[in-house]
Symmetry: C2
Subunit: 230 residues, 2 copies
Amino acid sequence: MSGNDEKSNLADVAYGLLKRDLTEGIFKPGDKLLMSALRERYEIGAGPMREALSRLVADRLVTAESQKGFRVAPMSLAELKDIYFARAQLEALITELAVQNGDENWEAGIVASAHTLSKVTEVHNADEMLGLWDSRHKAFHRAIASGCGSAKLMELRMTMLDQAERYRQLWLRQTVFSAEALETKRREHQELLEILLSRDSVQARHIMFEHMMNPIPIITEILASRGLIG
Amino acid sequence: MSGNDEKSNLADVAYGLLKRDLTEGIFKPGDKLLMSALRERYEIGAGPMREALSRLVADRLVTAESQKGFRVAPMSLAELKDIYFARAQLEALITELAVQNGDENWEAGIVASAHTLSKVTEVHNADEMLGLWDSRHKAFHRAIASGCGSAKLMELRMTMLDQAERYRQLWLRQTVFSAEALETKRREHQELLEILLSRDSVQARHIMFEHMMNPIPIITEILASRGLIG
DNA sequence: TTATTTAAAAATGTAGATATTTTTATTAAA
DNA sequence: TTTAATAAAAATATCTACATTTTTAAATAA
């Protein structure tokens, strides 16, 4: 009756925790992920820990070298550009399909999530706002994409979102902590919404591509200031 | 000096072997993947075996239910259509980019691999031909896609190819064993090649999408004849 | 220094212990 | 007799602890 049991094994738990720690930057790019340290941190045996690491290698958040163990996947300007470009192309494609296929329900969903996102400004606490804006921003974009009608394209989209997440986190602070940048985003989303509702799939695709590419210069600057010029 | 050592651990080996066995249909969709049976088959402990299975879950070739073990991921008409549609959209996108960005070297590559593919008809042994045509066909398409200039898009492409592989195998026999179907493919590839070299990226995108969608009816029929009507 | 040997650290793998699920057998109720 | 519920047994999945192999670091000799 009470539904949500969802028993999970230790590998699943460790996977989730380590993934969070990686995207939050608790482990830095290039850092060695020492088995003993991880086992202690997540209170877990080597077997399940390897399983979690192995999955994160598939996610491209961790690299593995046989007999030499695991490292946090490096970050670079080149990878930033590649991930954001591929992601923008994919999201633009999905958006075009969504505009072509989306029904009334889809329209209602994007209008609702756009509204919910626009109301975030009322929160006080800075860090709380960061999380709230981010989750609602993601929900808005997910609502748009969901209209494409392909579960596999949605999976590919999530793959790219996961890979972009470490870079996105850098951008997020700049954006949400600056009233100016936040207002710019608000306007971009408004424009996007109007074009989606106008059902012009070609223009929607174009606008979405530009929207997705916008963060690159900001993130580039942050990475450069951290000495990641490569 | 002698280069190719590439030491791999047991999980890597088991991953590769099981993946092959899955795409070749040695384990059927829905089959329970019994730990004891797998350990015996691949002569390996439970730890590395779980690691391999875990990676195949990420690849969507295996499903996992906590405390209940692993199964071969089911196949269905719905999944066939979804995979092929998403893959066709992605390949079409990548093709458009490749036509826009590809240089002389890219052109030379696709001309060469198209030629190599067209020469396969001379082989006698049927099964040998199957493998040869398949690998050259893949090489031809890879050569086209490689012009897109994005490593991440190429990764996404590979993801979809892996997921399509079980369905593709069904199609492959129909195609390669039928002189008629093989000739149709030869013409399609010729047409594709001409349009790529004409540098009309929009038409190239369109033709590639159609080319990628063509196998669906054939595979549908095969699945239906096996009782997979859902 | 540079190469070689030795010792420590770390990764990987196996075997067996523990917990969970599934099956079978047993009993009670309809 | 059949069905349902319960309990015992078997099968299975999962995890930990320890053993083995490999890599890295340190020490020593050329």
